[in-house]
Symmetry: D2
Subunit: 375 residues, 4 copies
C-alpha cells in the first residue's frame, strides 16, 4: 500500500527559506485506531528516522486490508533542531533563542482545564466512548484557540507556532509513539505512564521508566495527561474506566547515531505493539515472546544522576548497562589544578544499587556536569 | 572606609582552573540592616559592574560612621555566564549544558514550605521581629540541607552548586538589589513586587514593572517570595504586617554595554534608596525629588511581546522609548522567499497602546523570533 | 522592467530541507556590461538586503531601454550564515563545521595559474578584448573542473560546493559589488583595489580602504586578483593595459541592522556607479558631486586594531567616527580580579593618529578580544 | 624524583578570573636533551592528559640519575579550548572570536626568515652544533620581538598572546611531542615529517602520516619547519646534515574520551622514544619490538576525505580501521526530502583502496559535511 504524503511548512527563516515537516499517512482499508509516530524531536536523536524509514518500507509491502485504521509517520519532525550544529556536533536540544528544551514546550490541556471535576461529575454516567467524545471536544476547542494568538499582530514565539503544528497532527490519535534516544549514550528502554504497563510490554524492550513525576510539557505528557487526569477524577467518583489512549517515548540507544540493533528492536517492538492493538494483521506478529516478556519497570523518581564533584577528565567508568551495588566504583576523575600541585585521581562510588543506563558522551567535565544515571 | 574582600570559588573547570566570585563587604560602625547587591547574572548584562565599581569608589570616600549596617557588593557575580562567548557576542543567558536561564535556577523556600498556614497560626501573636526570626530559622534549616546533596557521591548539577553559593550570601539580607539590563536593548526601569511600591520610588526610575505573575525561580523572587507568602497568610488570619524586606531587579539599559546615563541613574537611585532606608548618612541624599517622583508602574501580565510573523529583516522600527497607540505602525519586515517571487515589505501595527520599552538587537529574524515589547 | 528570477538550491540539510539562493536578473534592451551584486555573505551583515530590495524596487520602475547590459542581484546570498543563531545573535561569520570565515573560502585562479608569465608573453600583442577572451577561457576551463571533485564519490566540503555556485554567477561579470557591513559597528566605507581608485569615487563614500595586502580568498579578491596579476605581467613586458573589470566590497554601517542612512548611501552610490559605467541611463544621475568628491583612501596595511590588554568591561570609548591624535585616550577598562583586590580602571591611548572607523559591539572583553580599529 | 611545577597565567577573562597552564619540569641529574610534551590543544582531544598524568606518575618513581636532560610536561595546555562547551559537547576546536583552529595559530620563523640562503652559505663550514647555535639565536631574537607587539597599547589578539606563552616553553627543546586525538573517532597513529621516519618508529604505532604538505601554522610544523628549511638549504649547498630535532603529533584515538588502550600505547611509545633518544635509562626499555616494527607511512597528500553528497542520516558505515578496496561500499545515507517523496537510501563507495582511519562522530549530516577519511 502507498501512503499519502503531506508537506507542512514549519518555519520561514530570516533568509526566506522554509523548513518543513513531511507526514506519511497509511490509511487502512478498514476503519480503526489512529497511531501517530514521530522521530528526531531533539536534534541529536536521529535513530527514529531509521526506524520510521524501515516502517515505511515495510508498510509499502503490505496490502491495505492488513491495516485497520491509520498510521501517520513523521521522521525528522523538528528540522530546526536536526539542523542545529556547533562544530560538527548536533546540539539541537534547546531552542537557541530561548533556551527551552525542544521537548518541554508542548501545550497541556490539563493546565487550562479548571473544571475537570465538574466535567467528570456531569458525564460519569455516559458510555466510555461518549465521555471520550465530549472530553475531546473540549480539548479541541481550547486547542483551536491557540491559533488566534499565533495569527495576532503580536504573533507568537516559534515554540508556540511549532507545537501547534505538531500537536495538530496527533491531537485525535489513539496511540502516540515519540522515538528518541539519549543525547548522550544509553541502553534501549521506554518511558511510559502509570496504568499502561500492560501495553508497555508489547514493545519487547527490557527496561521501562514509569513517569510518576513530570518534568512538564513533554510531548508524551502533553498528549496523555488530560486523559489520565480524567481517569483519576472518574475513579474518585467511583467509575474506574480506562481510555484506550497510549503515549510512549521510546529511547533507542545513543545520540548522533542509528545503532542497527536499536533500530531493529524499535521496528520489531512497534510492529508487535500495533499488531497487539489490532491495527496490523501481519505474518509472524504478535511475537510469541510478548506473553513471557517481563520487562523491568522503574519509577522516574528512583533514578539517580551523578554529576562531577570537581572539574577534570573521567576514566575507568563502568560500562553502559552494568548493574552496580552500593559502594561499587562508578568512575574516576583525573583532577588537574593550577596551584602548583600534582594531578590527583579521585574515585566516585555508587550511592545505591542499580543499572547504569545512560552515560555522558563527553569525558571532559566541568564541576557539576553530568556523568551517568542509575535506574 | 575600606571593605573586607572575600574570594569564593564557584566552579572548577575541566582544565583544573577555577572561576570565583569576589564579595566586597562594607561594615558600618553602627549596627543596622544588610543590603546585598550583585551584577551580571546574565552574561551580556554588564552595566551593573560599572554601577558597583562606582559605588565601591564612593564608599571608599565615606567614613564608617556614615554607614548603618552592612553593604555587600558582588560584581561579575556569574563568571560562567560573563565569559560565555559565541563569535564575539556575550551569549551567557542560558547554561549551555542544560539550557536553563541563569536567572531561573534559584531555590525557593515557599515551594518546600508545606505547613505555612500552620506556622502562621502558631506565631501570629508574636512581635514582628520574633516572627521573622522564627521563620528565618526554618528557611535557614532547609537551605542548609542543600549542601548534603551537593556533597553526596552523586553530587549536584552546577546550577544547584552555584545557587547555593550565591544565595548563601544574601539569605539573611534585608534588601536585595540585582542589577540587570536587557540582553537586547531597553530603557531603564525596575522589577518590583506588590506591596513594595512605596520604596520602589526611592530608585527614581521612571518605570517599574510589578511582578503579579512569576516566571519562577528568579533571584529576586526566590529571596522575597517566602516573606510575601507569610504576609499573605498572616493577613488572612487578621494580622496585616509588612516585613522590612525588599527585593529589586534594576534594568539599566542595553546588553553588552554600560551606557553612562544608565550607570549614573543606577548609582544615584541606589544611594537614594539606601539613604531612605536609613543605611547611609551622606550629603545631598535623599534627593528632594523622591517625594514628588511619580513613576509609572505596570503589571507584568500587561506586557505584550511581539514576534516576527515571517522570516526576514526588520526596518523602520519605532524608536525605543516611543509611546504608541493601538494601530500605530511598529515595524516593517522585508520578506524574501525562495519561490521565484519579488521581495515584499510587511507592516506590523500595535495591538494596544503602550510604551515600547525593549527591542531586539538583531534585525534579522526567523519566523517567531522576538522583535519588541510594549508595556 | 521585470526581472527574471531563478532559485538555485545551495544545500540540503540533514533534515532533508533545502536552502536556496535567488537571483534577480534585469536584462537591458541594449547589450553591455554585466554587474553582479550580492548581500549578506556574513550572517550578521544584513544591510545589503535592504539596498538590493530598494534597487529591485527602482529597477522595476525603469524601462528596459534605460539599461545597457545586465544587472544580477542576489540578496541573502548565504542562507547558511544568515540563519546561524546563538542565543538571539546572528553569529554567522564562520562555518560552524570548519571554522572558516565565510568570506575566505573562494576559489582564486591566480593560485593555480602557474604559467601566467608565459601567457602574457604569448598574448601581449593582441587587442585588449582578445587578451581578455583568451584569459577568461583559461579561468573558465579551470573553474569548470571544480565540478568534477564535487560530483566524485568522495564529494567536496560544503564550502567548495557553495563557492562553486556563487562564483558561477559572477565569473563572467564585469563589475562585482559585494555588500557587507561590520559584524560589529562601523562607519560607511568601501574596500577596493589598487589601480581602481578612479571608479571607487563613483560610490560617493567618504572613506575607502585599498587592499595592498590580502587576507586571501575573499570574494572580491578571488574575482579580480587574476586580472590584476595579468595587468602586472603585461606591464612588466611593456604593455600597460587596464581591463574594465572592477571588484568592490561596500561596508555599510553596523551588524544585525539596516541603518536607513547607510542603506540610502548604498543605493545612491550604486546607482551613480552604474550610471558612470554607462549601464544605467536614469534621471538625476550621475550626481554632480561625483567630480568634486574626494574620498580618503587608506592602505589596509596602515590600519591598527586594538585588543584588550586585560579582561574586563570597557567604558568611555571614543565615539565611532572620531579622529584621534597619537596619545589621545581611546577607552577605559574596568578590571576586576579574583585576588582580593579592589577593581581598577585602566586607560588605553592611541598609538597613532587616525579615524576610529570600527568598534566592538560587545563591551565585555576577555584579554586579547577586539576593541576598535583606527584607519 | 620530583618535578618543579610552574603555573603560568594564560588569559584573564572578562570576569577578572584567570586561566593558567601548569608546567611539570623533571630535571635529570645528568645534562642532556630537552623533551617538551603537551596535551589537549584542541578542547575535545583529552586523551593526552591521561598519558601525561601516567608519565608524571612514572617519573615520580624513578631516580634523577635515570634521566639525562629535562622533560617538560604540560597537560590541559589550552584551558580556553578545554572549557569550551556547547550543549555538553567539547567544541573547542576553533577560537570562538576569530574562527581560527587552535592548531593553526603558531608563529613560524621560516616565514620571516628572508635570508635563509645567505645564512646557510655563511655558516656552512661550521660544526653542526655551531650552526645550530647561530640559527637558534636568530630564531630567538625574532621570537622575542613578538612581545613588543603584545605589550604595545594596541595589544595583540589572544591567539598571539597564547602562542607566545606556549612557544616560549618549547622554543629551545630538542624533541616536541604534541598529543592529540581525532575530534571525531580514529585509530592511533602519528604525524611526522620527512627525514624523521627512523625515529618515528620508536613510538611503536602501526600507522604514520608524513607531512609532505602543510595546512600551515600547526604547533608541530612551527617548531620544526625552520630546521627542515635550513637542512634543505645546506643540502643544496652540498652539506647534508641532520639536526637532532624532532617534532611529533601523536593521534591517540577518539575525541571526548581517553580510551585506555590508546593511553597505554601512548605512554609506552613515549617511554620507548625517550629511551631510544638516550634521555631515559629505565628497565624494560627500549622495547625489543622497536627494531622489527614496521609501521605504515602514508603521505598526507594521499589521504582522501569523504563528504556527504546530500543531507541525511548515515548508516551501515564500514567499521573504523577497515581496509577497503576501490568500489567497496563505505556507507549509506537515508535521504529525506520535503517534496512529497518517499525517503531514499543512497550507497557511497570507495574511490580508491585504503584504510578507513577516521570517521565522524555525528551521523546526521548536512550536504557537504565530513563522513570519513581513507589513508
Amino acid at each position: 500500500m502507498n501512503p499519502t504524503i503531506f508537506t507542512i511548512p514549519i518555519q520561514q527563516l530570516a533568509s526566506g527559506d522554509r523548513l518543513s515537516i513531511q507526514v506519511y499517512k497509511f490509511i487502512g482499508a478498514n476503519p480503526g485506531k489512529k497511531a501517530y509516530l514521530q522521530a528526531n524531536l531533539h536534534g541529536a536523536e536521529i535513530v527514529g528516522n531509521a526506524v520510521i524509514q524501515q516502517l515505511i518500507e515495510f508498510l509499502l509491502t503490505i496490502d491495505d486490508t492488513q491495516l485497520h485504521g491509520e498510521i501517520w509517520l513523521v521522521p525528522v519532525c523538528n528540522p530546526v533542531s536536526t539542523n542545529q550544529r556547533t562544530h560538527y556536533f548536533s546540539t539541537g536540544r534547546y531552542n537557541p533563542s530561548d533556551g527551552k528544551d525542544w521537548n518541554r514546550i508542548f501545550w497541556d490541556f490539563e493546565k487550562e482545564c479548571d473544571n475537570l471535576q465538574e466535567f467528570a461529575k456531569s458525564h460519569i454516567n455516559l458510555e466510555i466512548d461518549a465521555i471520550r467524545n465530549e472530553y475531546f471536544k473540549r480539548i479541541k476547542t481550547r486547542f483551536d484557540k491557540l491559533l488566534e494568538k499565533i495569527n495576532s499582530p503580536s504573533g507568537a514565539p516559534f515554540n508556540e507556532r511549532y507545537r501547534y503544528q505538531l500537536q495538530s497532527l496527533c491531537i485525535d490519535a489513539d496511540y502516540v509513539i515519540d522515538i528518541h534516544s539519549s543525547s548522550n549514550q544509553a541502553i534501549d528502554y521506554l518511558y511510559g505512564f502509570w496504568r499502561r504497563e500492560e501495553s508497555a510490554k508489547y514493545f519487547l524492550l527490557d527496561y521501562g521508566i514509569l513517569l510518576d513525576e513530570y518534568d512538564g510539557d513533554a510531548f508524551d505528557e502533553a498528549f496523555i495527561k488530560p486523559w489520565l487526569a480524567l481517569e483519576d477524577q472518574l475513579e474518585k467518583l467511583g467509575n474506574k474506566i480506562r481510555f484506550d489512549i497510549d503515549s510512549w517515548t521510546l529511547e533507542l540507544g545513543s545520540g548522533m547515531q542509528m545503532n542497527p540493533e536499536s533500530v531493529t528492536k524499535g521496528v520489531r517492538g512497534i510492529k508487535n505493539y500495533l499488531t497487539q492493538k489490532g491495527m496490523l494483521a501481519i505474518s509472524g506478529f504478535p511475537l510469541s515472546e510478548t506473553a513471557s516478556d517481563n520487562p523491568t519497570f522503574v519509577s522516574k523518581s528512583r533514578i539517580i544522576k551523578y554529576y562531577a564533584p570537581v572539574g577534570g577528565m573521567i576514566q575507568a567508568r563502568v560500562v553502559l548497562g552494568t548493574s552496580v551495588k552500593a559502594g561499587d566504583k562508578l568512575y574516576q576523575v583525573i583532577n588537574f589544578n593550577k596551584q602548583d600541585d600534582l594531578p590527583i585521581v579521585i574515585d566516585i562510588c555508587a550511592e545505591k544499587a542499580g543499572l547504569v543506563f545512560d552515560v555522558s558522551t563527553n569525558h571532559a567535565l566541568n564541576e557539576g556536569e553530568y556523568v551517568l544515571s542509575v535506574m
